[in-house]
């Protein structure tokens, strides 16, 4: 077991590194085929009055006249040493820009995740405990509803209802406690749907198992059955969901930050997109990939230790589950 685990861990580690490098190259390719060229665009602004010769010199000075592969190599080696270069838009180091906004996004994402987890477990456990005639169906409908509402609409409604009508928080101080809470709710609602779907599917699955039937036949009520037999096995997949929703949280924060006027990674991306600030976009996407891969790696490494039933057949056979997988999972007999 130990040897097998070590081999498994080593294989996953190598895979993770490969994925990170490939993700960097992939982003570089997508970003470098962007049609606009912000640098020459700024330089050619007639108000600046640069001659063609001067423009060439400036571009050469920044290494932008090199072949793409050479640029990729320079940028990749710099990335590996932790240097992201200078932002084209603000002329400030990309590392500094990201470091400035990262804490705010981390706070939003973690509180969004907390909201999602509370909502999801509430709904999922509710489906097991609330009898059919008291609105279990309604509870089961929530994930679907949550997945159908664009989170910018949730954000707009929350801001107007709680920010302006009820005056619960100052909209212009988006980092205050209450503003963060409401932003977290807007971010957490769609994410909670995904977790809830997986949880419900797992609970239903466990409930249909033989041991649950046996327990029921022994006269165990729904609550005790749930508490004693269903809660633990169905909660394990949450470990992998944490890793998976990371991407959702980051993607969602892009919109939530815009709607709530928070500064963060999301608003940084938006500003960088509108000015095609390539070094910043490259750095953010690469970092997101790094974080995602590392967290998933961690989940993969921890999971076999938590659940002895999992066979170590390699990561590919046990990819973490999404909402859509929740779909495929339910189909699986």
């Amino acid at each position: 077991m130990n040897n097998a685990y070590a081999a498994f861990a080593a294989r996953r580690l190598v895979q993770a590194l490969v994925v990170i490098l490939l993700a960097y190259v992939f982003t570089f390719v997508v970003v470098s085929i962007l049609p606009g060229d912000p640098i020459t665009n700024v330089l050619r602004d007639p108000q600046n009055g640069f001659s063609e010769d001067e423009i060439r010199q400036i571009i050469a000075a920044q290494g932008l006249d090199q072949p793409v592969l050479v640029q990729l190599w320079t940028s990749l080696t710099r990335f590996l040493t932790g240097d992201f270069g200078l932002s084209m838009r603000s002329s400030r180091p990309v590392g500094t820009l990201i470091a400035e906004v990262l804490p705010s996004t981390l706070i939003l994402a973690s509180s969004g995740f907390a909201v999602a987890l509370v909502l999801a477990t509430g709904i999922a456990y509710g489906t097991q405990l609330v009898p059919k005639r008291y609105g279990q169906g309604l509870l089961r409908g929530f994930p679907s509803l949550f997945l159908s509402v664009p989170n910018f609409v949730i954000g707009l409604v929350l801001i107007h209802l709680f920010g302006f009508q009820l005056g619960l928080f100052r909209v212009i101080a988006p980092n205050s406690f209450w503003a963060t809470v409401f932003a977290a709710i807007a971010l957490g609602i769609p994410v909670s749907a995904q977790i809830a779907e997986v949880l419900i599917a797992n609970l239903d699955h466990e409930r249909a198992q033989d041991y649950a039937a046996v327990a029921r036949s022994r006269g165990l009520g729904p609550f005790r059955l749930f508490a004693r037999h269903l809660l633990k096995p169905s909660s394990l997949p949450v470990v992998t969901i944490i890793a998976l929703t990371l991407g959702e949280l980051l993607g969602g924060s892009l919109i939530t930050e815009t709607v709530f006027g928070r500064t963060g990674i999301g608003s940084l991306v938006q500003r960088s997109v509108s000015t095609q600030d390539l070094p910043v976009l490259q750095a953010v996407v690469s970092l997101a990939a790094v974080v995602f891969v590392l967290v998933n790696l961690l989940a993969d490494l921890v999971y076999p230790l938590l659940d002895p039933r999992v066979k170590l057949v390699g990561a590919a056979s046990r990819r973490p589950t999404t909402a859509d997988d929740g779909a495929s999972q339910a189909v699986t007999p």
Partner: protein
């Protein structure tokens, strides 16, 4: 050397007089304020703004519609230009120019310092003039766009006297010193490399406020400088500012900015949606829609493209636009009808309204004459080609898309087929250029301080921008341009400018839409006494906040 300036020219004398008049106004205004009780000191305000732009390198950001607000409080200028384009002294106490406007002498106010302690003396002004003209291109520090390209050199004659020389007559030099690009920055900051200049917190100006803290994409907080006492006399106050601090805070949604001011969470909202202004005004909020000195919002027509190479089609376009309906639908009565292709408050602007009247019958007749016949689907065509117009909504004007859609409806009635393209700022800059091969009409939003610079932009002489893609083909326009550039006094220039405006509109080279209000302010009634300068920026240097 100095003997050249011994003779006071008429224009120089007048400039001095106007400065003196402004000082006089200031002196009479001040006691009045005192009688009403001294202005209240203290108070903090929050100003909500769409964006704080990209870089903070002073040269690259000074003309930004967003960063300009901060620079206006953190820095001073050599001269002050008010909302009517009147020039008055500021850091330059007085100035002289030679007969043909190729050489100027600036006399600086003494005792002015930057916030890093460096004196604002002649050497500092020379350093600023040099970087405004040339920038440091290899580092990515751009020159100031509208700074005269005819600049030759500047030298410090003594600690408080600067002599500036030009290669050709440059009547616009003094007004340009009051332009929002011409901000005085400490020479210590200017000596820093671009990446250091990009850190706003490390930049020193001589203005009434200094940057206390800032965060990229979030806010900039300014606090007042206690020892400031060199404000422009024209605003009626020269001592330290009254308000303790001003915080510029980014809130990107216009409706949120307004709602925050309405609910008392902030004091000023920038760029509100025009539709909301009426009810805000009724609710007691102060609405300001100052017009900057510059071009009106309108199109520069590409005369190289079919069918706009035909003057009749251009004239038909001029007559097909119902400008009053634009103001009634998209804007409010605070917006003014265009009377020329430059804003009516620019000195030298003349009233050409007759050329801009809505006259659909005239438009139809002109198009019929030009051979564009209306087909069954309501679209005119000629030789099988439909009459089309592609509009590129200007990303710098929030209402541009709505106006484009409305104009598309108006032109549709006459027989045009209109397409609208909307790009982000970068793509717009990339794909949409004056006279570009697919750009029949370029939507202009551009400010300037001195009308003398206008003519040279329109053609391609002297690095001009060749707005109508005429090159040097229009002899009359070239002649007007040269005579305006060579004019040594405004008296000679005025009739030439009038002729230029009439000619450009008659030919349908420029199609005005409305006079432009690029900056809209919604302000809490508690905040009073702000001043708007010639580029429509609000200055809170003179403002006070009541209970």
């Amino acid at each position: 050397m100095n003997s050249r300036f011994a003779l006071l020219t008429r224009s120089r004398r007048r400039v001095l007089m106007s400065g003196f008049a402004a000082a006089l106004v200031a002196m009479t205004a001040l006691p009045a304020a005192c009688e009403a009780g001294a202005p209240k000191n203290g108070g903090d305000i929050v100003f909500l703004i769409d964006s704080l732009g990209g870089t903070w390198i002073p040269n690259n950001s000074a003309i930004s519609s967003f960063q300009g607000h901060i620079w206006g409080h953190v820095t001073d200028k050599l001269v002050y230009v008010d909302a009517d384009g009147k020039v008055s002294p500021w850091i330059a106490e007085r100035w002289e120019q030679n007969e043909d406007a190729t050489s100027f002498i600036l006399h600086l106010k003494k005792g002015v310092t930057f916030s890093d302690g460096t004196p604002l003396d002649a050497a500092a002004v020379v350093a600023n003039l040099d970087i405004w003209y040339a920038g440091r291109k290899s580092e990515g520090i751009n020159p100031i766009g509208l700074f005269p390209k005819t600049y030759k050199s500047a030298e410090a004659i003594d600690a408080s006297t600067v002599k500036v020389s030009f290669k050709a007559p440059t009547l616009g030099f003094i007004p340009t010193l009051g332009y929002h690009g011409s901000i005085l920055i400490s020479p210590k900051t200017l000596a820093q490399p671009a990446s250091q200049q990009a850190d706003l917190g490390k930049t020193s100006g001589s203005g009434p406020y200094v940057v206390e803290s800032w965060k990229e994409g979030d806010f900039v907080k300014l606090v007042k400088r206690k020892d400031y006492n060199w404000g422009p006399a024209a605003v009626g106050h020269t001592g330290p500012a009254f308000l303790e601090s001003i915080t510029y805070k980014i809130v990107s949604e216009p409706s949120l900015r307004v709602a925050a001011v309405q609910s008392g969470q902030a004091d000023v909202a920038y760029n509100a949606s025009p539709q909301e202004l009426k009810s805000l005004k009724q609710a007691g909020f102060t609405i300001a829609t100052p017009r900057y000195l510059g071009f009106v919002n309108g199109w520069a027509i590409n005369t190289r493209l079919e069918p706009y190479n035909d003057v009749k089609v251009r004239q038909a376009l001029q007559a097909s636009i119902n400008r009053q309906e634009i103001i009634d639908t998209v804007y409010t009565p605070e917006w003014k009808l265009a009377t020329s292709f430059i804003q009516s408050n620019v000195p030298g602007a003349t009233d050409q309204s007759a050329l801009l009247a809505y006259n659909p019958d005239k438009a139809r007749k002109l198009l019929d004459e030009a051979g564009w016949i209306k087909g069954a689907n309501g679209v005119r065509s000629k030789d099988g080609k439909p009459l089309t117009l592609t509009l590129y909504s200007n990303p710098y004007l929030a209402t541009a898309k709505a106006v484009d859609e409305l104009i598309a409806q108006q032109l549709g009635k006459i027989g045009w087929k209109v397409f609208i393209r909307a790009y982000d700022v970068v793509t717009f800059g990339e794909k949409v250029q004056f006279g570009g091969p697919a750009v029949p009409a370029y939507e202009v939003t551009r400010s300037f301080i001195d009308a003398g610079t206008v003519a040279s932009i329109l053609t391609n002489a002297n690095n001009g921008e060749n707005w109508f893609a005429l090159g040097d083909s229009d002899g009359k326009l070239n002649d007007l341009r040269d005579r305006i550039a060579g004019a040594g006094t405004t008296e000679i220039r005025a009739p030439l400018l009038d002729e230029l405006q009439r000619y450009v509109l008659e030919q349908g080279y420029f199609i005005p839409r409305t006079q432009i209000v690029q900056r809209i302010y919604v302000q809490s009634p508690r905040l009073k006494g702000e001043v708007y300068n010639g580029i429509a920026y609000a200055s809170y240097y003179t403002a006070t906040k009541g209970e």
